[in-house]
């Protein structure tokens, strides 16, 4: 069976672990538990009638306390950049992490998701910023791990991109 390593990347407390847990076990917790190191989960999806096991590397959030180790990125078939719509700083972190990935392993498929759509009234990331990202070739989904919104889509779209590569994605940050 095909296995694909996917890294979950983003600033701290953006909801990476919540997205993985919602995707893998369909569970959500309102409590925040910071991830130290790496937690690896697996889930098999069907892409083009073929089973693909996604090996999800839920990396700790990037901040001044922890920097993502480039070695964790090696061997990744794709990655998901997670942002928190209520904190504009997480967009900056996502952009920096994207550059790190490109510098480390080159251009691989990725999808971004702006999490916490359930708090959209408090969002700091506005439509202009989203359009700017899309203008750079990013796939930007809006989702909520709490509501389960956009979760299947983000993993599904990335799996599809990995298995059936489309024309080379733009890699500019």
């Amino acid at each position: 069976m095909m296995q694909k390593k996917i890294c979950m990347l983003g600033g701290f407390a953006v909801g990476k672990t919540s997205l993985v847990r919602r995707f893998v076990t369909n569970v959500f917790s309102n409590e925040y538990h910071t991830t130290i190191g790496v937690t690896v989960e697996k889930k098999t999806v069907v892409v083009d009638k073929e089973d693909v096991t996604l090996v999800l590397w839920d990396l700790y959030g990037e901040d001044e306390f922890q920097r993502v180790r480039e070695s964790y990125l090696r061997g990744s078939s794709g990655y998901i950049l997670v942002m928190d719509g209520t904190r504009k700083s997480t967009l900056e972190t996502a952009l920096a992490l994207h550059q790190t990935v490109v510098r480390t392993i080159g251009a691989v498929p990725f999808v971004s998701i702006i999490n916490k759509a359930d708090l959209q009234a408090d969002w700091e990331i506005d439509e202009t910023a989203i359009e700017h990202l899309r203008g750079q070739g990013w796939t930007v989904l809006i989702g909520s791990a709490k509501l389960g919104q956009g979760v299947e889509e983000v993993f599904g779209q990335l799996a599809t991109q990995i298995v059936t590569p489309s024309p080379a994605p733009r890699t500019s940050a």
Binding site: I36, V38, D63
Partner: protein, 600 residues
């Protein structure tokens, strides 16, 4: 552990196993040829939770965590001859067989040619570190949230401020557009804002106003300032007042309204309304409806006012004709007040009922000893009126001798006191009045024709009240106000029925009788409105609806009865009796003589 080979049965090996057991670490050695990982020593308890018991002695990578698989696949400097180098994988979380999880970390090192893999379960110190990071991040998130709330509050305040500024600008624009003259005063009465219209009204610039006390900005009289200050302090119940006269080269009249600023109760908004034009119009209206102390706006009275103005412009003798009580003396005073002699004396003399010697003495004065009782030199009325006006009422009643002397005075402009021979120059304007038809008197021979021609150079005829009934409401209301002011009673108006009665009455005593009737009514009135029952009985009984234009003169017998009744009611006091009848004392005397009534 050393590079020396320790066989399983050597003492070093036993020690090594005990040390590993104490450190709670799993140690594998990588076999370069097979690539297999062989366990050294006893494995700790936790390791049995991670692996199949049958595979504890070796590390089966295919059964390992993907993290460890991934980690061991790569190149590692620690295994490439860099002695002393220990390479750490970083922590990862591994599921155990009980459904829980544990956090592990792998370390790689070389001892000589031997490549070792150490796996440890991160315990309490790791949890402490995780807890610290967790708290730090929660704190960052909380501060983030606080900062965000502050930003939102700031944004809201800025929005509110902008909205407030917009509202202020709009209100200001509206204020300016509406042309409202407004001053905003602070607690100390200093002007903090002046609208454009206020500046226009006051004829000054903003720099002259802002920061100034309102009393400096509004040049008002002291009493007006006191009144407005009391309005500002709330001691006056009034919130508006005026119009007040702004003193200056061109007087302006302003109405002032005081409003308390609801947002800042210590501030006041003073709204100024320019009433100059309104005041001028009212003044003109008032002047049209009255003239000096005369009241009336009938066409007859308007003609009289104009005639008085015309007569006042010249310095000729004037004859005023009119029934008793029509206000002949008021006309005389109006002529005097409108003439260039207005700052000089106005002397009124009643010529009726006086003997020629008394009248001569009164008019021309006398020398001491000129007649019995002349104990000192006495100036006459002509001299007293020097430069001014002498009003001779009932001139038709003066004896022939006095007529002659008066004629000489009018011709020569000089008088001679009784008992003196030397004439004295006088500069007096004579205004005469009579209720007689002097032309008929001339025909009858009771009045000198030449004197008539001399005094009748200018003539003013006063209409009787019955011929200007439209003035009765105005007159009655005016008299009501005057009488109330003098008596202290508060009677505000005349009931329409009472007014109809007044309009229907014939008013033989004219305005004087009307005044007497209103005074009677004010005294009788119990409320604030005069009803027909409050009027004198002879008036209250007047049938309403009779043609008011027809004056039916009283017969001599009727008049005699009225005079006698009045004298009886006044207990013989002729002045009081005349007042009750609404006629002058002189007329009363004259009528007594004419009707041969002997005083009591």
């Amino acid at each position: 552990m050393t590079d020396a080979v320790s066989t399983p049965d050597s003492p070093d090996h036993a020690l090594f196993s005990r040390v590993l057991s104490a450190l709670d670490i799993v140690v594998f050695e990588r076999d370069e040829e097979s690539g297999a990982y062989r366990l050294h020593g006893a494995s700790p308890e936790w390791w049995s939770q991670c692996v199949d018991p049958d595979h504890r002695a070796t590390l089966d990578l295919s059964r390992c965590s993907p993290f460890l698989q991934d980690y061991l696949v790569g190149r590692h400097p620690a295994w490439e001859g860099n002695l002393g180098t220990i390479e750490k994988s970083g922590p990862w979380t591994e599921s155990d067989q009980q459904g829980g999880s544990m956090t592990l970390e792998a370390s790689l090192l070389s001892l000589g040619s031997r490549k070792l893999l150490l796996i440890e379960c991160l315990g309490s110190s790791f949890e402490d570190m995780r807890s610290i990071v967790q708290r730090a991040r929660e704190r960052v998130l909380a501060e983030d949230l606080t900062a965000k709330l502050h930003r939102n509050t700031e944004t809201q305040l800025i929005d509110q401020l902008e909205a407030s500024e917009r509202t202020k600008d709009e209100a200001l624009t509206l204020l300016q557009h509406l042309g409202i003259a407004a001053l905003v005063l602070d607690v100390g009465g200093l002007v903090t804002f002046a609208s454009r219209r206020a500046l226009e009204v006051l004829g000054i610039t903003a720099t002259d106003v802002i920061g100034q006390h309102w009393e400096q900005v509004l040049p008002l009289s002291q009493p007006d300032c006191v009144l407005i200050q009391s309005m500002l302090e709330g001691s006056s119940r009034m919130e508006s007042g005026g119009p007040f006269c702004l003193q200056g080269p061109q007087a302006r009249w302003l109405a002032v309204e005081i409003h308390r600023d609801l947002c800042h109760p210590s501030r006041h908004i003073m709204v100024l309304s320019d009433r100059t034009e309104l005041h001028a119009l009212r003044q003109a209206l008032h002047e049209q409806a009255s003239f000096h102390d005369l009241v009336g706006k009938s066409s007859a009275m308007l003609r009289v006012y104009q005639l008085v103005r015309d007569v006042a412009q010249v310095d000729t003798t004037v004859l005023i004709e009119g029934e008793t009580g029509t206000g002949k003396e008021l006309i005389a005073r109006a002529i005097h007040s409108s003439s260039t002699r207005k700052h000089k004396p106005f002397i009124a003399a009643n010529c009726a009922g006086l003997t020629d010697s008394i009248l001569t003495s009164q008019l021309f004065g006398h020398k001491r000893g000129a007649f019995t009782g002349a104990i000192q030199d006495q100036q006459g009325l002509f001299e007293a009126a020097e430069g001014g006006t002498l009003f001779l009422d009932e001139i038709g009643d003066i004896p022939p001798q006095v007529q002659t002397a008066l004629l000489r005075v009018l011709q020569e402009k000089e008088i001679t006191r009784l008992g003196e021979a030397k004439p004295r120059k006088v500069n007096v304007r004579v205004v005469a009045a009579t209720h007689h038809n002097l032309s008929e008197d001339v025909v009858r021979g009771s009045f000198r024709a030449d004197l008539l021609y001399r005094i009748r150079i200018a003539r003013v005829s006063l209409p009787p009240l019955r011929e200007r009934r439209e003035d009765i409401p105005l007159l009655a209301q005016s008299l009501l106000g005057t009488i109330c002011a003098s008596t202290g009673k508060t009677v505000e108006r005349l009931n329409p029925d009472a007014l109809r009665v007044l309009m229907s009455y014939s008013w033989p005593g004219n305005v004087r009788e009307l005044r007497s009737a209103v005074e009677f009514a004010v005294i009788s009135c119990k409320g604030n409105e005069v009803f027909p029952a409050d009027l004198p009985p002879e008036i209250a009984g007047t049938p309403v609806g009779l043609s008011p234009s027809i004056f039916i003169p009283l017969s001599s017998q009727d008049e005699k009865t009225r005079l006698l009744a009045a004298l009886s009611e006044a207990k013989g006091n002729r002045t009081e009796a005349a007042k009750r009848l609404g006629i002058s004392r002189a007329t009363f005397y004259r009528r007594l003589v004419e009707l041969e009534i002997r005083p009591f």
